[in-house]
């Protein structure tokens, strides 16, 4: 299936030299753009060619930023691949389409115009997908057309004449399966041809008037007939599964069951691994204390860095498990159904089903979620979604929640053992964040962000098996991001905190924590947080967690590392916390973390996406007010019941 026509692989590949900016061959690397409609498998192909991770989702429009990656060719040349957001045409409407349009036209600031294009289309729906070939070929760049999902096409009885299509389009065409890796050789050949920049005349074919959609569609239909395209039978399994997942009664029940199962397993499956890691961090800390001579360096390393960073790294398994579940839901195509189910509910709060996509990924992290809001065409809907996304329970809250819940919530079975009290507490915190988010949306959409009725148009992708390759790449990337944060932000905060906790020296000796700079900062804000049930030590944690939520865990680790003797350290953070926090104070702290905007990366990305400080400042302030009043209320209610 590899060779599509009789020509040598390099024929017809190369650009009209006048189009490319004049430059020596070694001046800058060759850039090849991967373009295609949403769900055509662009990201899967990108992963396969570069090995770099790229968010792959079986979901229209989830890739909103272009991603670069290097592909190594057989002759040791290197080609830069850029994965562009999925588009149906080059007529930009939403901002993700704008990115694709601008890059391909060479109008994207600070981004060179690509030297060649790989157009990837879904071979199971060629009639509609081929329409995109018209604007792409009109760019005049050397183009390789890939018809993806060849395995699916064959399995469902469809076929297409590659040689004929290649003749019609006057460019190389190949049938591939990006997920299975078949037909990838053909791409290597194309990239090799691009890398050595052979000359050939520009393709000359007749193209339809681009802004006339019906004309473009007719052109594509004619192409399909000439390439004797036979569309595959409808995906039976998708119909069958939709009958279950979109069933009026079973559908919502299954949705609820999936959510509960995810939370329960995050708790019970990750626990043994986490316990093991925690034990390792503690015992290795004690071991380091024994083998190293007593010095300020030992204290910085063991009490500052090791307890601080270690306390956070322990949560890696749990976060990866959460990302694994979200990845499976996304890649299988179920999320599109979830958005469909959610649309009616979301519209009651002034939003639409598409807002559900970013909001769901906000469960993992608000930063990609805010970037994913670019799929929402309506600007006011988009800002409203950005404003509420950080209220969804992101994975950075997990370490905080887990620590406090494990320390203060007794393990009592509920509902005959289906759910435990800690898992139920966690679940209610997630629900609380969600409720706060939609209430805020309601308020925003009926006041400052009022807009006329928005619409909802969403393509339902067929269900697919998530591939291990895609899931693994996703998890490796998440682990990398998490560990990089632990190695930078959290490490830095741990060191600064250790220094602040050891200064100023009293008679040449380190002061007790209370008299240290860190202690004094905590004492200064203590009056403000006392009504919430927090003392000055928790106050230090609240300040450091402004950088990122999970930093509070590391900070407490450092504080107790400095303060405590070996024995109390061995008992761990959970036991030590009881000295500084009452049960109702713990509930208040949970609520505070559910609502407060403690994430510098999120504020930065909101600033970038809205183009100013107005919205991030607004967001920070209202979330702080919400957090303060919420935890004040929680503290007093909990006091009333627990007393």
């Amino acid at each position: 299936m590899s060779s599509c026509h009789g020509n040598t692989p390099r024929a017809g590949l190369l650009p009209n030299p006048s189009i490319l900016p004049p430059r020596p061959a070694s001046d800058r690397p060759i850039i090849v753009a991967i373009v295609g409609p949403p769900n055509s498998g662009k990201s899967t192909l990108f992963n396969r060619l570069t090995g770099l991770r790229q968010k792959v989702a079986n979901f229209p429009g989830v890739t909103v930023e272009h991603r670069m990656g290097k592909a190594k060719l057989k002759d040791h040349h290197e080609v830069f691949l850029v994965d562009l957001p999925g588009v149906y045409s080059l007529h930009p409407r939403a901002e993700d389409e704008q990115v694709t349009h601008d890059v391909l036209k060479g109008e994207q600031p600070d981004f060179p115009k690509p030297d060649a294009v790989i157009l990837i289309l879904d071979s199971t729906n060629l009639g509609r997908n081929l329409v995109l070939a018209a604007p792409i070929l009109s760019l005049g760049l050397p183009t390789l057309v890939l018809l993806n999902m060849a395995d699916d096409l064959a399995a469902r009885g469809g076929k297409v004449d590659i040689a004929a299509l290649s003749n019609e389009l006057n460019c190389p065409v190949a049938l591939i399966s990006a997920a299975k890796g078949t037909g990838i050789d053909r791409i290597q050949q194309f990239l090799l041809g691009t890398a050595v920049r052979l000359n050939s005349p520009p393709p000359r074919i007749e193209l339809p008037v681009l802004h006339d959609v019906p004309k473009c569609r007719q052109w594509a239909a004619k192409l399909g007939i000439r390439a004797s395209y036979r569309p595959p039978a409808p995906p039976l399994w998708t119909r069958r599964l939709d009958a279950i997942f979109l069933h009026p009664v079973a559908g919502p029940l299954i949705f609820a069951a999936i959510v509960v199962a995810v939370f329960q397993s995050i708790f019970s499956w990750a626990k043994p691994v986490m316990d093991g890691m925690q034990g390792f961090v503690l015992t290795s800390g004690i071991w380091m204390k024994h083998v190293m001579p007593d010095s300020p360096w030992r204290s910085l390393l063991v009490d500052g860095v090791w307890s601080g960073v270690g306390a956070v790294v322990v949560f890696l398994p749990q976060i990866l498990l959460l990302f694994l579940f979200i990845g499976i839901l996304e890649d299988s195509g179920y999320l599109a159904r979830a958005a469909l189910i959610a649309d009616r509910t979301m519209s009651k709060f002034g939003l639409q089903g598409k807002s559900f996509i970013p909001l769901l990924s906000a469960y993992a992290c608000a930063v990609p979620a805010i970037m994913a809001t670019r799929v929402i065409e309506n600007k006011r809907d988009r800002i409203a979604t950005m404003m509420i996304a950080p209220l969804m329970t992101c994975s950075a809250r997990l370490p905080v929640y887990t620590l406090l819940i494990a320390a203060f919530i007794p393990n009592i079975p509920l509902l005959g053992g289906i759910l435990s009290l800690p898992a139920a507490t966690m679940l209610s915190l997630y629900v609380l964040g969600f409720l706060a988010a939609i209430m805020t949306a309601r308020i925003l959409k009926s006041s400052i962000l009022k807009s006329r009725g928005s619409s909802f148009v969403l393509e339902m992708p067929p269900y697919r098996w998530p591939t291990w390759q895609s899931l693994t790449l996703r998890l490796i990337d998440r682990a990398r991001v998490f560990l990089r944060r632990a190695g930078t932000v959290i490490l830095l905060v741990a060191i600064v905190l250790w220094v602040l906790a050891h200064l100023p020296l009293e008679n040449g000796k380190t002061p007790p924590l209370e008299h240290s700079a860190a202690g004094m900062i905590g004492k200064t804000i203590e009056p403000a947080i006392k009504p919430l049930g927090f003392n000055w030590k928790i106050g230090i944690g609240l300040i450091t967690s402004l950088a990122a939520r999970e930093v509070i865990v590391g900070t407490l680790g450092t504080i107790y590392g400095i303060e405590g003797d070996e024995e109390s350290q061995a008992k761990g953070l959970q036991t030590a916390l009881h000295r500084d926090l009452s049960a109702s104070g713990a509930v208040a702290l949970l609520i505070f973390f559910a609502f407060a905007m403690q994430c510098f990366s999120t504020l930065a990305v909101v600033k970038r996406e809205t183009g100013g400080w107005k919205w991030p400042i607004f967001q920070f302030s209202y979330m702080l007010v919400l957090a303060y009043s919420g935890s004040w209320l929680a503290f007093h209610i909990a006091n009333h019941f627990l007393a």
């Binding site: 149906y88 009639g127 009616r344 519209s347 619409s455 148009v457």
Partner: protein
């Protein structure tokens, strides 16, 4: 539900038929899109082109958007959008039960 049926019947009699009036599996041909240009363009790119065949499919639980089978793929639209797409039914295109 009863109100919906009544409206549907009324629609069949007097005003032109829209996509919102059809039952699951009732194939139809799209006549025109009465939508703002941007929205119409988006729908056309997804296959909602005049002359194309559309088959209404499942509706989201609780009366949410509905899935329409068009041009080899499935696209969900809200009822209010579907009501702006005017269609005609061919005499031979009878109810086809979808699984």
């Amino acid at each position: 539900m009863a109100a919906g049926k009544k409206r549907r019947k009324a629609a069949l009699r007097s005003s032109p038929l829209t996509l919102a009036d059809l039952q699951v599996g009732q194939r139809c041909i799209l006549d025109r899109l009465d939508l703002p240009e941007d929205m119409a363009r988006r729908l056309m790119e997804l296959g909602f082109l005049p002359g194309n065949e559309i088959t209404p499919g499942k509706r989201a639980p609780g009366g949410g958007p509905r899935v329409f089978r068009v041009d080899g793929s499935e696209v969900a639209l809200r009822q209010e959008t579907a009501a702006r797409l005017y269609v005609r039914r061919e005499p031979e295109s009878d109810v086809v039960v979808l699984t």
